[in-house]
C-alpha cells in the first residue's frame, strides 16, 4: 500500500509544479495571444488578479494543511499485516475540537469576505469620469455591434478604445445590451465578464494600460455559433484612436470603378440586413459594413479579412461558420466578384 500512496503524492506534487509554472509565465505585460487572467492589463483585471493571488494563498495553505493531515492519517493509521485483531480505541467526539475547527474557518471567512466586498464596491461602483469614452456594445447572434453615440458611428466585432494610463486615466465605459439572447463580454486581460441580457441593461469599464490587440469571446451560450462569437479589442494610442474614429465617422467610399458591385449590393438582399452609410443600405440585422475593410477579421473573428475569404464568406457562410445567420445568397460568380470588389473598397 505504501508505495501506491507515494505515487498519489507525486501526482499532487506535479499538479503544484504545473500551477507554479503556469502562473509564473503569465506576468508578461501587454496583450497576449492566450488571454490569461493572470496577465492583466487594465485596472479591474489587475485588482482582481491581486485579490486572486491572496485567495490562492489562503486556500492553498488550507489545502496543504488538510491534505497533509489526510496523507499523514493514511500512512500512520493504515492497517498493517502484523496488527492484532483488536479494534482500535473508540472515540465518539469532542466538543472542544469541534469548536476549534468551527471557529478557525469562521475567522478565515471573515477575512476573505471583507477583502472581497471591498473590491466588489471598488470595481462595480467606480464613479465614471467625465472624460470617459462611452461605447454601447450590443450582442447579436453571433457578432458584436459597437455604437459610439458621442462620435456618431457604429462599428462591429472589433472594438477600438484609447490607451489609458494611471496618472491620466481615460477609461472606456461599456453599456451592454442584447438584441436577441444572452451573451457575455469577456476579454480576460481587461476585465471580468459581464452578461448582455435582453431587456436588462448592464455596464462595465476598462482602462487598458498597454496598447495592442486583446482577444476574448462571448462567454454565455447564445446558440449554434457561440464558439465563433469572438472578441477583439484594439487598444490604440490617442493619435491612432483619433485617426480611426475620424475615418469611422465618414460615409462609405463611393468608387465608380466598382459601381456594378454596389448595384448587386443594393439590389440583392444584402441591404436588408447591412448598412453602408451613404447608400440605400440601412439594414440593422447584420454588422455595419461602412468601413468593412478597416477590420482585420470577418464574421466576428472567424477568419482573416482577405479578399478570398470575403468572397467565400459571401458565397457560402457555412464554410467558415456553419449555422451563422447570414444566408448564402446564391449569387452568380460574376456577381460574387463584383460585390466582393465593391466591399473591398469600403475602407
Amino acid at each position: 500500500m505504501f508505495p501506491e500512496w507515494l505515487r498519489a503524492g507525486r501526482v499532487t506534487g506535479l499538479a503544484f509544479t504545473l500551477a507554479v509554472f503556469l502562473s509564473s509565465h503569465a506576468l508578461a505585460e501587454g496583450p497576449q495571444s492566450t488571454p490569461s487572467i493572470f496577465a492583466p492589463a487594465s485596472t479591474p483585471a489587475i485588482d482582481t488578479y491581486h485579490l486572486s493571488l491572496f485567495v490562492l494563498q489562503i486556500t492553498g495553505a488550507i489545502f496543504v494543511t488538510v491534505a497533509g493531515i489526510l496523507l499523514y492519517v493514511i500512512i500512520r493509521f493504515r492497517a498493517r499485516d502484523d496488527d492484532d485483531d483488536r479494534e482500535p480505541a473508540q472515540v465518539y467526539g469532542s466538543n472542544q475540537v469541534e469548536l476549534a475547527w468551527t471557529v478557525i474557518p469562521v475567522l478565515i471567512v471573515v477575512v476573505l469576505f471583507l477583502t472581497t466586498a471591498r473590491l466588489i464596491f471598488a470595481i462595480q461602483d467606480a464613479p465614471k469620469p467625465s472624460a470617459a469614452l462611452e461605447v454601447t456594445a450590443v450582442g447579436h447572434q453571433f457578432w458584436w455591434e459597437f455604437r459610439y453615440p458621442r462620435q456618431g458611428f457604429v462599428a462591429a466585432n472589433e472594438l477600438h478604445v484609447p490607451l489609458s494610463n494611471t496618472s491620466h486615466p481615460s477609461p472606456t465605459y461599456l453599456d451592454l445590451l442584447s438584441a436577441d439572447v444572452n451573451h457575455s463580454f469577456w476579454v480576460p486581460q481587461l476585465a471580468g465578464k459581464i452578461d448582455l441580457i435582453p431587456n436588462h441593461p448592464n455596464d462595465m469599464w476598462i482602462d487598458p494600460l498597454y496598447p495592442g490587440l486583446y482577444v476574448g469571446q462571448c462567454a454565455q451560450f447564445c446558440g449554434v455559433q457561440h464558439a465563433k462569437m469572438l472578441l477583439r479589442v484594439y487598444v490604440d494610442t490617442p493619435e491612432q484612436f483619433a485617426a480611426w474614429a475620424s475615418n469611422q465617422a465618414k460615409p462609405g467610399v463611393q468608387d465608380p470603378a466598382v459601381a456594378a458591385g454596389r448595384r448587386v449590393f443594393e439590389t440583392e438582399a444584402c441591404m436588408n440586413c447591412h448598412t453602408v452609410i451613404g447608400t440605400a443600405a440601412t439594414g440593422r440585422f447584420g454588422p455595419d459594413l461602412t468601413h468593412l475593410m478597416s477590420r482585420d477579421t470577418l464574421a466576428s473573428g472567424a477568419m482573416l479579412n482577405t479578399k478570398e475569404n470575403l468572397r467565400q464568406w459571401i458565397k457560402n457562410p457555412d464554410s467558415f461558420k456553419p449555422g451563422s445567420l447570414m444566408p448564402a445568397m446564391q449569387l452568380s460568380n460574376d456577381q460574387l466578384d463584383q460585390v466582393t470588389a465593391y466591399l473591398a473598397t469600403l475602407r
Binding site: 495571444s33 485567495v55 492519517v73 479494534e87 465518539y92 467526539g93
Partner: protein, 563 residues
C-alpha cells in the same frame, strides 16, 4: 439486555431466497409490477448506471472534438446537443436516480423497516423517472417536429431564457426537454416524500432520530431539499411551456418578460441541487469511513448539525451563479457571504471524517480507496468553490473551464467516486456476491489517474481564458496541448469505467459468496441475509445505540454506554 432481539445469524431464516422460477417473461413481469423497495432501488441504480454510460459516451465524443483545435469531428449543432444532453442526463437521469437508488435500497434496511412507507408511490416515482428519461431521449427522434428530422435539445442544461423561446428554438427539442423534466420532477417529488415519510415513521423500536445511521440522516435532509427545490424547477418548466404554446410572456424579453426571472428560478433549484447530488456521497462516506477505519464516526451530532446547516444555507446562495448577470453591488456582496458560509459546515464534515480515521486501523479495500480519494478531491473542490465565491474573481472564472473543473471535481471527484465506493460496499448485500478486489483496485487507480489528468488540467485552461460551451477553438489561443491532455485523461477514465462494468457483471456469476456481513460492519442492513429476504427482517429489530451490530459483537463494551 434481555430485550436484545436483533436478528443476527441464527435468528433469521437462512434458507437462501427462493430462486426465481418461471420464464424470462414472468421474471420481467415481476420486476415491472414490483413495489419492493429493494427491487425498485436496484432498478433506480440500473437506470442511473445505464445513463451514466450514455452520458459518458456523449462526453467522449465531446472530448474527441475538443482534443485538437479547429477539429471537424462534430458539427456545432451536434456538439451543442451533446453537451446539453450530457448535462441534463447526468443531473436528472444519473444523479437523482442514484439518490433514490441508494435511499430505496439502504434506508429501510438501516432503519429495520420492512419496506418504504409508500411502496406504490415508490413504484410510481420510479416509473415517472424512467418515462421522463424516455421522453428526453425520444427527442433524438421526435425533436424536429413535423420535419421528420430528429434533434435533441441544444440550449445547455441551464436552458437560459430567452434562448428557449420559440423564436430562437423552433421545433420540439426544447419541449421534450421541459416535459421530460416535469415528468421526472414529479417522480423525484414522490420519491422525496417517500424517503421523508419512511425515515419519520418507519424506524424500528429504539431507533431515535439521534441513533439513526448518518446515511439515513443525509437521505432525510436530501429529500427535504429535493422537495423544496424541484418545486420551483417544475413551476419554471410549466411557465416555459406556457410561454411557448399559450402565449405567455414570463420569459419573453421582446414583450417585456424577464430572462433574469428564469435565471433566478433555475438557480434556486440549481444550486441546492448540487447539494442534493453530493449528499449521497456524504452519506456513503459516513458509512464506509467508520467501518474501514474500525472506529465510530467522530462527532455524530456535529455531523447531523452540519448536514442540516448545509441544507439551510444552500437555499440562500443561488445567485452566486449570477455574479455576472449585473446585480447590485449589495446583492453581490450578500451572495459572497452566504456562499462562503457554506464552507464552514462543509469543513466541519471533512474534519470529522478525518478525525474518524485518526487513530483507526484503516483497511484500504476498494470502497475505502474511493472514499479516501473522495476526501482529497472534495477538499480541493470546496476550496475552488471558495475561489469562485469571490465575486470579482468569479467575473473572470464564471463560464470558463475553471468552473467545469470545479463542478466536475464535485460531481465526479466526490459523487462518482463515492458512488463507486457505495457500489463496492453494498453490492455484496444486494447480490450476495463480492466484487473482485483486484479488478476493483485497477478500476480505482485508473479512474483516479484519469480523473486527475483531466480535471486538474481543466483548471489551468480555464485560467487561460477558455470558455465553456464552445465546439472548437483556434490554435493561436494556445489551448491545444492542455485540451489534448484533458481528452487523454477522459479516455483513461472510460477504460476504468469499462473495467468496473466488467467487474460488476462477472461478480454476479463468479463473485465470492459474501455472507451477511462481509465488511464486519455495524448497521442493521448487515444483520440480515445477502440478498435480504422479501420483507428484510424475520422479526422487528430493536436497537439501543447507533451501532447495533457493534453492541452485539462487543457485549463487553457496547456503544449505548456512551450515548
Amino acid at each position: 439486555m434481555a430485550d436484545r432481539t436483533l436478528p443476527i445469524d441464527g435468528s433469521l431464516d437462512l434458507t437462501p431466497p427462493r430462486e426465481q422460477e418461471g420464464t424470462l417473461l414472468e421474471t420481467l413481469h415481476s420486476w415491472v409490477i414490483t413495489v419492493d423497495h429493494k427491487k425498485l432501488g436496484l432498478m433506480y441504480m440500473m437506470l442511473a448506471i445505464f445513463f451514466l454510460l450514455v452520458a459518458g459516451a456523449e462526453v467522449i465524443c465531446i472530448r474527441i472534438q475538443l482534443a485538437w483545435p479547429d477539429n471537424h469531428f462534430l458539427s456545432p449543432q451536434v456538439f451543442n446537443r451533446l453537451f446539453t444532453m450530457h448535462g441534463t442526463t447526468m443531473v436528472f437521469l444519473v444523479g437523482i436516480p442514484l439518490v433514490f437508488g441508494f435511499a430505496n435500497y439502504i434506508v429501510p434496511l438501516q432503519l429495520g423497516a420492512r419496506d418504504m412507507a409508500f411502496p406504490r408511490l415508490n413504484a410510481f416515482s420510479f416509473w415517472m423517472t424512467a418515462f421522463g428519461a424516455l421522453l428526453l431521449y425520444y427527442s433524438f427522434i421526435g425533436g424536429g417536429g413535423l420535419y421528420g428530422l430528429g434533434n435533441a435539445p441544444d440550449v445547455t442544461w441551464w436552458a437560459y431564457a430567452p434562448l428557449t423561446a420559440r423564436a430562437f428554438s423552433p421545433g420540439h427539442a426544447t419541449d421534450y426537454w421541459a416535459l421530460a423534466l416535469i415528468v421526472t420532477g414529479f417522480g423525484t417529488l414522490g420519491g422525496a416524500i417517500n424517503v421523508i415519510a419512511t425515515v419519520i415513521s418507519m424506524r424500528c423500536r429504539g431507533m431515535t432520530l439521534m441513533r439513526m445511521p448518518l446515511f439515513a440522516w443525509l437521505m432525510l435532509v436530501d429529500s427535504g431539499l429535493l422537495l423544496v427545490t424541484i418545486t420551483p424547477l417544475t413551476a419554471a418548466q410549466i411557465m416555459l411551456v406556457i410561454d411557448r404554446y399559450l402565449g405567455g410572456r414570463f420569459f419573453d424579453t421582446q414583450a417585456g418578460g424577464s430572462a433574469v426571472l428564469w435565471f433566478h428560478f433555475f438557480w434556486i433549484f440549481g444550486h441546492p441541487e448540487v447539494y442534493v447530488l453530493v449528499f449521497p456521497a456524504f452519506a456513503i462516506a459516513s458509512e464506509v469511513i467508520p467501518v474501514f477505519s474500525r472506529k465510530a464516526i467522530f462527532g455524530y451530532p456535529a455531523m447531523v448539525a452540519a448536514s442540516v446547516g448545509i441544507a439551510f444555507v444552500s437555499l440562500g446562495v443561488w445567485a452566486h451563479h449570477m455574479f455576472t448577470v449585473g446585480m447590485t453591488s449589495a446583492s453581490n456582496t450578500f451572495f459572497v457571504l452566504s456562499t462562503m458560509l457554506v464552507g464552514i459546515p462543509t469543513g466541519i464534515k471533512i474534519f470529522n471524517w478525518l478525525a474518524t480515521m485518526w487513530g483507526g486501523k484503516i483497511r484500504f479495500a476498494t470502497p475505502m480507496l474511493f472514499c479516501t480519494a473522495f476526501l482529497f478531491q472534495f477538499l480541493a473542490a470546496g476550496l475552488t468553490g471558495i475561489m469562485l465565491s469571490v465575486a470579482p474573481w468569479n467575473w473572470q472564472l464564471h463560464n470558463s473551464y475553471f468552473v467545469i473543473a470545479h463542478f466536475h471535481y464535485v460531481l465526479v471527484g466526490a459523487i462518482v467516486f463515492n458512488v463507486f465506493a457505495g457500489i463496492y460496499y453494498w453490492l455484496p448485500k444486494a447480490t450476495g456476491r463480492m466484487m473482485n478486489e483486484k479488478l476493483g483496485k485497477w478500476h480505482f487507480w485508473l479512474f483516479f489517474i484519469g480523473f486527475h489528468i483531466t480535471f486538474d488540467t481543466m483548471h489551468f485552461v480555464g485560467f487561460q481564458g477558455m470558455p465553456r460551451w464552445i465546439y472548437t477553438y483556434s490554435a493561436d489561443r494556445g489551448w491545444n496541448h492542455l485540451n489534448l491532455v484533458i481528452s487523454v485523461g477522459g479516455m483513461i477514465q472510460a477504460v476504468a469505467v469499462l473495467i468496473f462494468a466488467y467487474n460488476l457483471i462477472t461478480s454476479l456469476f463468479r463473485g465470492k459468496i459474501a455472507g451477511n456481513d462481509p465488511w464486519d460492519a455495524w448497521t442493521l442492513e448487515w444483520s440480515t441475509s445477502s440478498p435480504p429476504p422479501a420483507y428484510n427482517f424475520a422479526t422487528d429489530p430493536v436497537v439501543q445505540s447507533r451501532r447495533p451490530l457493534w453492541d452485539l459483537k462487543h457485549p463487553e463494551d457496547p456503544d449505548w454506554r456512551y450515548e
